[in-house]
Symmetry: C2
Subunit: 295 residues, 2 copies
């Protein structure tokens, strides 16, 4: 059973900034797209990430990659080393990631807080249904992937790593969560999140989406057939707390080609079983943070 590795760089969601075309000229001040923010902090974090991406780097590499002058890079590198976000491998003349990042990662997982019983249940879902298996929860106003179990034979959908929280309209667990919101919450949510087209069959009109959500609400199961990634299908069932509110969702993904009608029925059954088990956990006490997802 693997926890979570993989995950590489995802394209930074390019904001629709005006002036997308930088005229190649103007070496002086082409005014980068970025909003103000605290410049020093942004530079520092950029350096940290540069070191992370290339699995360690020399100061010069960072300087060239980011276009920051060398003295600045050294200064900020040292600040990061001092706080244990980086280590300086003096022998190898390299900077690599520091151990605080592990501790922070652990803290993050603790904040999301998926109990072991739920983890094993998702593991069972993976084994029984022979698919990648997911657990998603509300976090604040977002819907986020909180746990994944997959295997070489049944790998996760590449973007669906821990922390994924986009494309709610185009994922099975996203539909479950949208269907679980009050209509005002849903409207507000969709006012902020566009119905981006991802494949030929992605539902990009609210009308269509609402119609499906109504159906999801009654049937209790959401399917998503190649609306997110071509050739792949997902399915999900909601998880409810003691008050009957949807607080999360168990889900699977599999190649569409492998899904005979019979297999679909089996999967639905496994999803409902898993949902029941997980819901049972959340019904019995232990509902830690207020999951009422105020939006």
């Amino acid at each position: 059973m693997r926890i979570d590795d993989a995950s590489t760089l995802t394209r930074p969601s390019a904001d629709p900034a005006p002036v997308p075309a930088q005229p190649a000229s103007a070496p002086p001040a082409p005014a980068p797209p970025r909003e103000p923010g605290v410049v020093t902090v942004e530079k520092t974090l950029a350096i940290l990430e540069a070191v992370a991406e290339r699995g360690g780097a020399t100061a010069r590499e960072v300087s060239e990659a980011l276009g920051f002058p060398l003295p600045t890079v050294y200064r900020l590198l040292q600040a990061l080393v001092q706080s244990d976000y980086l280590v300086h491998l003096t022998g190898q003349h390299r900077f690599e990631l520091g151990y605080k990042l592990d501790r922070l990662g652990v803290s993050l997982h603790r904040q999301i807080g998926i109990p072991t019983s739920v983890r094993t249940e998702i593991g069972r879902l993976h084994t029984l249904s022979q698919t990648a298996a997911y657990f998603a929860v509300y976090r604040g106003a977002d819907v986020v992937v909180a746990y994944v179990v997959d295997s070489p034979d049944h790998p996760r959908l590449t973007p669906l790593n821990f922390g994924f929280h986009e494309a709610t309209h185009a994922t099975a667990f996203g539909k479950i969560m949208l269907a679980g919101m009050s209509s005002e919450q849903r409207d507000q949510y969709l006012d902020v999140h566009e119905l981006t087209r991802l494949t030929a069959t992605t539902k990009t009109r609210r009308q269509d989406l609402y119609a499906e959500l109504a159906q999801v609400a009654t049937s209790g199961v959401a399917w998503e057939i190649e609306e997110f990634v071509p050739g792949m299908t997902c399915a999900a069932v909601g998880v409810r707390n003691g008050a009957g509110m949807i607080i999360g969702s168990v889900a699977i993904s599999a190649p569409s080609a492998e899904l005979s009608e019979r297999r679909q029925r089996d999967i639905e059954r496994h999803l409902r079983d898993a949902s029941n088990q997980v819901s049972r956990y959340y019904r019995s006490g232990a509902l830690r943070r207020a999951n009422t997802a105020t939006l």
Copy 2:
């Protein structure tokens, strides 16, 4: 928490610089101990860690905990949110950790890079010997815990988490690694790292330590009996690469009381077995980064 370099030595706590006459000002703060560094960055990271420690926090909590004025805290919080190191749960008026921290944690683990075959071997060591099991490697000039397998019945020693790299003189795997260094490397290492007393039996004199290291080098196994944590004993065996150099170490920890002579023999056997298996992996190709530990 590092104790290393000389920079601390150069600056006496209260520097009696020329111009001692401060213009009558400064009745309040006599300037805290901290060395310069990039102030903004330090503040920002302090905020990040404050949020991590308390599992999410409001801006005001952070402000009070760290003594930074509110507008500053908000500004830096936003910088962190913008870079995905924090999320702002607007519904709950809280800031919590962001998903980039997971990605950075994963990158760190990838940089340390313990292959799965080694992981399973440490798992087996845990099961067979019925103890917490560890794998440690050189990283730059340091010796760091790279992987741990434990269980409720056989928990790890509390400080021995991933990333632990102190007290080399008082841990079994540390002794293995010290024994594996050239004498110049060892001397240099010990010039920088004090032989801190941790328990009544910690070896704090180089003499004593060197004597034991010589014995470790010949026997191939290091024991550490309550020199690190009272009541707990550790043992370790080295892992060698194709060139015969020590590049890591497998280790276990257990309560001293549970270690009959027979059990000690069993544990030594299991450690040697594990070491052989792991060494085999590092012998066959795959010796990625130059582990020659230049110091």
